[in-house]
Symmetry: C2
DNA sequence: ACAGACAACTTGTACGTACAAGTAGTATAA
DNA sequence: TTATACTACTTGTACGTACAAGTTGTCTGT
């Protein structure tokens, strides 16, 4: 026998599998006895037993002591589990995340992937629970919206476990952790902040205030763009015109800042950059109740271009968030990572200013 | 050797397993060679091989040709797959479904369940694809928002397959198929329609129009409540004041009805019942552009009490949708069904009228 | 007609041998 | 110093034998 030939028991295995596949042997039928096979193929019974033993293990055959060996259900007839991608977001019902999830779904669903949802409510403890649950799940990939991305993350150990031990590709959206060099898809928030602020500067405003979120990295970046735009025009950023809020404050009251703080901003500024449309709605409401007209008395620019931006009578000037597109990009990236085509993705999406009715040229306020 | 004693290879297997369990051998460590074992236990190498072969198959050990045999992860150490519930909705980013999903998540997540998302875009073909994907997934339960619930469903065969063959508990939300006697959790939409319409009747309106969705059963029920309220007050439902739209029209343009149709309603009616907040926003916008004041010239009542209802300068009078609560109820029901505690759930949640600024008492229109 | 013994088959356990082939470290030669 | 060969160990393949034990049908004596 030449050295190239396969082991005898392997040959016998393949012969039996082929016979079953050709349906010459059907499930439940008795196959030849071990001695018959040994004679037929000129091998010892031991070798036959080895072949049949493995086939039993693989689910092709089963044996009954004293009766014989029979054909089992074919193992490859088993339905394959659909593949799954985990998606971890901060909020499920916040106004833009549903769109991102929809974008992810539109790419993954046609490829036969399931999406497993988890939400952290922007809390590190919840994030940890979600990650632990994902460790108990057979995942093919993970898309993560960063939780409290501006703060140090206490759950990096679990991320590493998923990524390094379990070899699950991970991609971050809406931010990334500096300690981990994982792939990410983000909006260029510095640019977004710059666009929003520069729009107001171009309209002649000089007393520009801002409301930003302190515990999400997006808030920091948008503020960075805000500062950049100001300093390029030779304006100093006045800290009394900047309001910071965080997740906990935002949960207590929509918009995250109270009326007294807003009223102070109204007095000091002719224009406001709002962290997102939700904040802008809060500002709009307060301004309405104080008799301040938007945009005549106060120009507003916000971020995200959500449904809210066009819901009100004053349509909001906002810097558009790619939303669905961002979800699609993240989904496409993770598919490439799963296929092993491209390991590292660092995608920054360009924001776009949409001018609507909430901003106008600066005019001296007269009625005060 | 007495007849009662176990086979030698079986004894060896048990000895090795015990050694691993006592952690005298840890994962990755090399165990004794086949010859060592044969000598140690006074058996032939063949018998040792049989024992080790079975342990390899059971996941306790692995062999490397030429190196030795090593301890694998313990099979009973395998983390159990987290249990999963499928959630199938029509839209992922529509304004109330995120809240429902959040409600579901808030109940299931703490119990260690994963949520697998799928969305049908309110199309029967997509629904079929989703159901087929669920058939290829190991599910413990399924929560379904009915797709085009007012039309006959062509996918009942797959629902039956999941329910009867696969024994997966299914619960419907937002409607149910009359041909299947499955559990459901719904809002009492007839009552909701009645509350909305009766509110307008109480305010003295007599020329009341309505905009309803034709291919979702909710639209039918809300219209039923509308009719009921009218006839109880002795008013006839005038078909020229009723507008019907469907999924496809709603996708083309937000709100699902065009301006000419709305203008006609404005002329004929002093009050409108809108299928949901989105429709009401569309009506509000058109009314604004025609110089029609809400609520002075036209009272509006809508359904769902979403974010949109309070986004505009005119806060909407709506019949509140239980949203998160409905999701929670559905999740709790499916957990009971999985536990085998209660097989059939038919939960109807009471709607609640929230009076805001978009509706007021009827006054003769003067300025025409 | 029926129970029980028996034969002939099956798979299961257990022993033996031999050599092939992969791995790792050591000794040897260039 | 480096490449090569060798050795000693490992598991993998393959042959042989023997008997135990479960299943089935047949033969036999009552």
């Amino acid at each position: 026998m030449s050295k190239l030939s396969k082991p005898k028991y392997q040959q016998l295995k393949e012969h039996i599998i082929a016979t079953i596949k050709e349906e010459q042997l059907k499930p439940g039928e008795k196959i030849w006895s071990e001695n018959e096979l040994a004679n037929k193929f000129q091998m010892s019974r031991h070798t036959v037993r080895q072949a049949i033993g493995e086939l039993v293990n693989e689910g092709w055959l089963y044996r009954i002591h004293g009766k014989g060996t029979f054909v089992d259900r074919r193992p490859d007839r088993e339905v394959r589990q659909a593949r799954t991608i985990g998606v971890m977001t901060t909020y499920l019902n916040d106004y833009i995340f549903p769109s991102i999830i929809r974008g992810i779904d539109s790419v993954l669903s046609p490829k036969g992937y399931n999406i497993i949802l988890a939400s952290t409510y922007n809390k590190h403890e919840k994030e940890r629970l979600c990650l632990e649950k994902f460790l108990n799940t057979e995942l093919d990939g993970l898309i993560v919206e960063t939780t409290k991305s501006a703060l140090p993350n206490p759950n990096l150990d679990l991320y590493r476990q998923l990524s390094h031990s379990r070899k699950i590709p991970i991609i971050f959206i809406h931010g990334f952790y500096k300690d981990l060099d994982y792939s990410y898809v983000v909006e260029d928030d510095v640019e977004a902040g710059y666009l929003a602020t520069n729009h107001l500067l171009d309209l002649g405003h000089t007393r520009i205030g801002g409301i930003f979120k302190s515990d999400d990295i997006q808030g920091h970046y948008r503020f960075e763009g805000f500062s950049k735009a100001c300093s390029l025009k030779g304006l100093e950023v006045c800290s009394s015109r900047i309001l910071w809020f965080d997740t906990e404050q935002a949960e207590e009251k929509l918009g995250g800042c109270d009326n007294e703080q807003l009223d102070r901003l109204f007095e000091e500024c002719s224009a406001l950059v709002c962290y997102n449309d939700q904040v802008a709605m809060k500002v709009l409401d307060r301004a309405r109740s104080k008799g301040i007209n938007i945009p005549e008395d106060l120009s507003l620019v916000s971020f995200d271009d959500s449904q809210l931006a066009v819901a009100s009578e004053v349509k909001l000037t906002t810097v558009a968030h790619p939303q669905e597109k961002l979800g699609e990009e993240a989904a496409r990236a993770i598919l490439q990572m799963i296929a092993g085509k491209k390991k590292y993705h660092a995608i920054k999406m360009k924001p776009q200013l949409i001018v609507r009715g909430s901003s106008c040229e600066y005019k001296e306020r007269t009625g005060e």
